[in-house]
């Protein structure tokens, strides 16, 4: 229980660090979104100093840095990252409303990555046909080396323009989900497949596997009943890391496939230095990353009893020492 509380505290520290770091970088960097805004609104930089001062006060950027930081942090704790400088909307709302389509693509991509990456690894190490094993296990390195924007364009070319099976653009309906998800899943699934295959091979060479075989166990039992669960741990760690990357990857796929979503919002906000929106995105991304890894951490002891040390209970080894 204390371990869970400790992990939660760590997660909160990571979120705070993400907020602070993004504040430092975004607010202290040169460049002025207020000037950008006034400039774009009036078609030229001819706003009077009074106007500039008024807008500055409105956005609270004329306070000393520490006061700004304190105010921002307090507001952020209440889910308020300020107003978008570009559109004037609530930044949090803007980001959250763009979230569902992104989550749909990322979630679907994660499912595809785990199912196909894991499937290739399991089948590639299970099959006794050498050619098939070689073929399957050469797929992950290939998948990793293909750039995802290029894969996206290729998929559109083939499945939309030539075969006309799936829509190339847009964000309506399940069909529009397929191509971006596949694009996003490819590198992720490839990494999962590669790590799981490696880890399965290591496990299958362990002495305990020989004992299972000496019991008269079938190949299937050895593979699925024993090796897979031991091999899953490194792959699970990886899922936590790459799932966070799916969110980052959405910037590229959403641009390539012209989909609505957090990726597009991010790209737009960065290009006009819309700091509140960018910061909301950063903290949101950190939140997902931290949550996923927290879940992964809590799953470890379920998979491996050696990691589930009940405090207060001595292990056998310690007892024999004591």
């Amino acid at each position: 229980m204390t371990a869970v509380i400790r992990r939660l505290a760590q997660a909160i520290v990571v979120l705070w660090a993400a907020f602070t770091l993004s504040f430092v970088i975004l607010y202290l960097l040169p460049g002025d979104a207020v000037l950008t805004k006034l400039g774009s609104a009036d078609g030229g930089i001819n706003a009077s100093p009074e106007q500039i001062a008024q807008v500055r006060a409105e956005y609270g950027v004329d306070d000393p840095v520490l006061v700004q930081y304190g105010k921002r942090l307090w507001a952020a704790l209440h889910g308020d990252f300020g107003r978008s400088i570009a559109t004037g909307d609530d930044a949090t709302h803007q980001v959250l409303s763009a979230l569902p389509p992104t989550l749909a693509v990322s979630g679907f991509a994660l499912v595809l990555a785990v199912v196909f990456g894991g499937g290739i690894a399991v089948l590639g190490t299970y099959t006794r046909a050498r050619w098939l094993s070689h073929l399957l296990l050469s797929l992950p390195p290939l998948g990793i080396s293909l750039p995802s924007f290029w894969v996206g364009l290729l998929l559109i070319q083939v499945f939309s323009f030539q075969l006309g099976l799936l829509p190339a653009l847009g964000s309506t309906g399940f069909a529009s989900l397929v191509l971006p998800s596949v694009t996003l899943a490819l590198p992720t699934g490839a990494i999962i497949g590669q790590v799981l295959a490696k880890s399965l091979r290591t496990q299958l060479a362990q002495p305990y596997v020989e004992i299972v075989r000496a019991k008269g166990a079938s190949r299937r039992r050895v593979h699925f009943g024993h090796a897979l669960r031991n091999a899953a741990l490194p792959a699970l760690t990886l899922v936590g890391v790459v799932a966070g990357n799916l969110l980052a990857g959405s910037v590229i796929t959403e641009t390539v496939f012209s989909r609505d979503g957090v990726g597009r919002v991010t790209a737009a906000a960065v290009s006009v230095q819309d700091i509140p929106v960018v910061q909301a995105v950063i903290v949101l991304a950190a939140f997902f990353f931290v949550t996923l890894n927290l879940v992964v951490d809590l799953l470890y002891p379920v998979l491996d009893p050696r990691l589930a040390r009940v405090p207060g209970e001595l292990t056998r080894r310690e007892r024999s020492h004591a």
Binding site: P207, R306, G312, L314
Partner: protein
């Protein structure tokens, strides 16, 4: 010979690698009758383990049977399909492995792993299997089997894990058990209990055992017949008594002479303590903290109030089983660990209260030789760099002088000069340990602490290393602190013996007294557990 359960005829096994083919087993003949215990004895690379695995159809990758037959109960096993093998393994032939600490699936409960054998072969259904597994564990000598069945492997000691593996091997009531070095990873007292138990179970159920071992002592105690293997071939075979009494093959004779468990004379006359005290240990204690719990902080007392003295030119053997604290003492004596309390005086200086530059200067005078010669040499260094490293670290001499010293050291440990440019991986285990000894001697130390220096080596190599250590002691006037779990080795080299148990010194005295007439009950148990003790003595009155 229809009475034979297992009949191996002219078996040849080779391993194919990308570049070449290694013939691991060449034309081996071997028979095991029903209910008989046959020991296959040999050193690493003799092909004994490969033969055992061929009988189970579990050759490692790249291994293949070239020629010959393995007949089991009249059926030739060499042509079996994987499916047919699955019916043989577990119910006809069982396996007890070498290292119990890595032979159980870490993420499944002990009971489930025992019950699995019953489920695979349909010997029990899901409802009754757990209870049967508990019963099997009880038969294998596991105390509180209900609790143990619910635990995971890491919660059990090595001995208990081996018992669980014996339960697994016997679950399908096989007619033949293959025991591949079943106890070489365990402490001697545990080793003895487990072998006794295994022998009893086998006799009770009339199970034949093919016992693979490097230890002639174990073979002598347990087997009716012995098969001696060397370099992939059987060099001698016969009833245990005859093979040990009148070995025909020179290799068997060499093995017999080298087996520490069968040797009974010291390598040199034992010396009484001298006048010049080099090391004095008083009231030494070491406590390690454990993760804290609700009930407050906890700690393990690894070393508890240990005192002894060691005089110059003598060998003190520090004996104990795993967890006895012997390695912790060794680490404290060379300054790698700080005692919680107590004093270690080295040549008049208390090293526990010395630090910095003075300790560094003292360090030159005591050196450590580790257990595992495979891990203690930097794999990227050449042997010359390995041996010269202490000289470089203490900036001794010029480059040419250092080189001359290395050549001299290599010669002292009887290695050819050609090894200087080689990497550790190109040397055999014995050669590596010689290089490690040369490194330890580089700075002319007074004291050499040897932490199980021969336990990872084959017996004939063990004997050579022990002889080397004794010769060097005489030539260089060295003092040894010799840490070991093996009382047989102690018998050969120690002047004084200190017996440790659970961090406490249970006995300390001259080697002859401790070995011949131990005061402590525990020492007696250790001595009784040495394999080879129960064999019938031939032409030797001393026991």
């Amino acid at each position: 010979m229809s009475a034979d359960l297992l009949e191996i005829r002219d078996l040849s096994v080779c391993y194919r690698t990308r570049t070449d083919t290694v013939h691991a087993v060449r034309g081996v003949d071997l028979t095991v009758a029903a209910g008989e215990i046959v020991a296959v004895v040999g050193e690493s690379g003799s092909g004994k383990s490969t033969t055992a695995h061929a009988v189970l159809g579990l050759l490692p990758r790249g291994g293949r049977i070239d020629a010959g037959q393995i007949r089991f109960a009249g059926q030739d096993l060499t042509g079996l399909s994987e499916k047919d093998w699955q019916a043989v393994r577990g119910t006809e032939i069982g396996l007890v492995p070498q290292d119990p600490t890595v032979s159980l699936n870490p993420v499944r409960r002990i009971g489930d792993q025992v019950a699995e054998v019953l489920l695979i072969h349909g010997l029990a259904d899901r409802r009754e299997a757990p209870a049967r597994a508990v019963e099997l564990l009880r038969r294998a000598g596991v105390a509180e089997p209900e609790t143990r069945a619910r635990q995971y492997p890491h919660e059990l000691s090595g001995g208990l894990r081996q018992r669980a593996l014996i339960a697994i091997a016997l679950a399908g009531e096989p007619r033949l058990l293959i025991a591949d070095e079943p106890t070489s990873a365990l402490d001697v007292t545990v080793q003895r209990e487990i072998l006794d138990h295994l022998e009893g179970l086998a006799a009770e159920s009339h199970t034949a055992v093919l016992l693979i071992t490097h230890d002639l002592g174990v073979a002598a105690d347990r087997a009716a017949r012995i098969v001696v293997m060397s370099d992939g071939a059987v060099v001698e075979t016969g009833p245990t008594r005859e093979v040990l009494a009148a070995p025909e093959h020179p290799y068997t004779r060499r093995l017999l002479a080298a087996a520490p468990s069968l040797a009974r004379t010291p390598l040199r006359p034992r010396r009484p303590p001298g006048p010049d005290v080099l090391v004095a240990v008083t009231g030494l204690a070491k406590t390690f903290p454990l993760p804290r719990t609700r009930s407050g902080p906890r700690a393990v007392r690894a070393v508890d109030d240990v005192s002894f003295t060691l005089t110059r030119g003598r060998t003190l053997a520090l004996v104990g089983e795993s967890g006895s604290g012997k390695s912790t003492i060794a680490r404290m004596m060379v300054g790698l660990e700080t005692p919680t309390s107590g004093r270690i005086t080295f040549a008049g200086t208390d090293i526990t209260r010395t630090g910095g530059e003075e300790l560094r200067r003292l360090r030159r005078r005591f050196q450590l030789v580790y257990q595992n010669p495979y891990a203690s040499l930097n794999p990227r260094f050449s042997i010359e760099e390995v041996v010269a490293e202490p000289l470089r670290a203490f900036r001794v001499g010029t480059r040419a002088e250092r080189r001359a010293r290395v050549v001299e050291l290599i010669d002292q440990v009887a290695l050819p000069a050609s090894v200087l440019r080689r990497k550790p991986a190109e040397l055999s285990g014995g050669q590596r340990q010689r290089a490690a000894i040369a490194r330890a001697l580089a700075l002319h130390p007074d004291l050499v602490v040897c932490d199980e220096p021969v336990s990872a080596l084959d017996v004939s190599v063990q004997a050579q290393i022990l002889e080397l250590l004794v010769r060097l002691q005489d030539e260089l006037g060295l003092t040894y602190l010799f840490i070991t779990h093996d009382l047989a080795v102690v018998r050969e080299i120690a002047d004084q013996v200190a017996v440790l148990r659970a961090g406490r010194l249970v006995e300390f005295g001259p080697a002859d007294t401790v070995l011949a007439d131990p005061r402590a009950e525990y020492t007696r148990r250790l001595l009784d557990a040495i394999p080879g003790n129960t064999r019938v003595d031939i032409g030797d009155t001393q026991r």
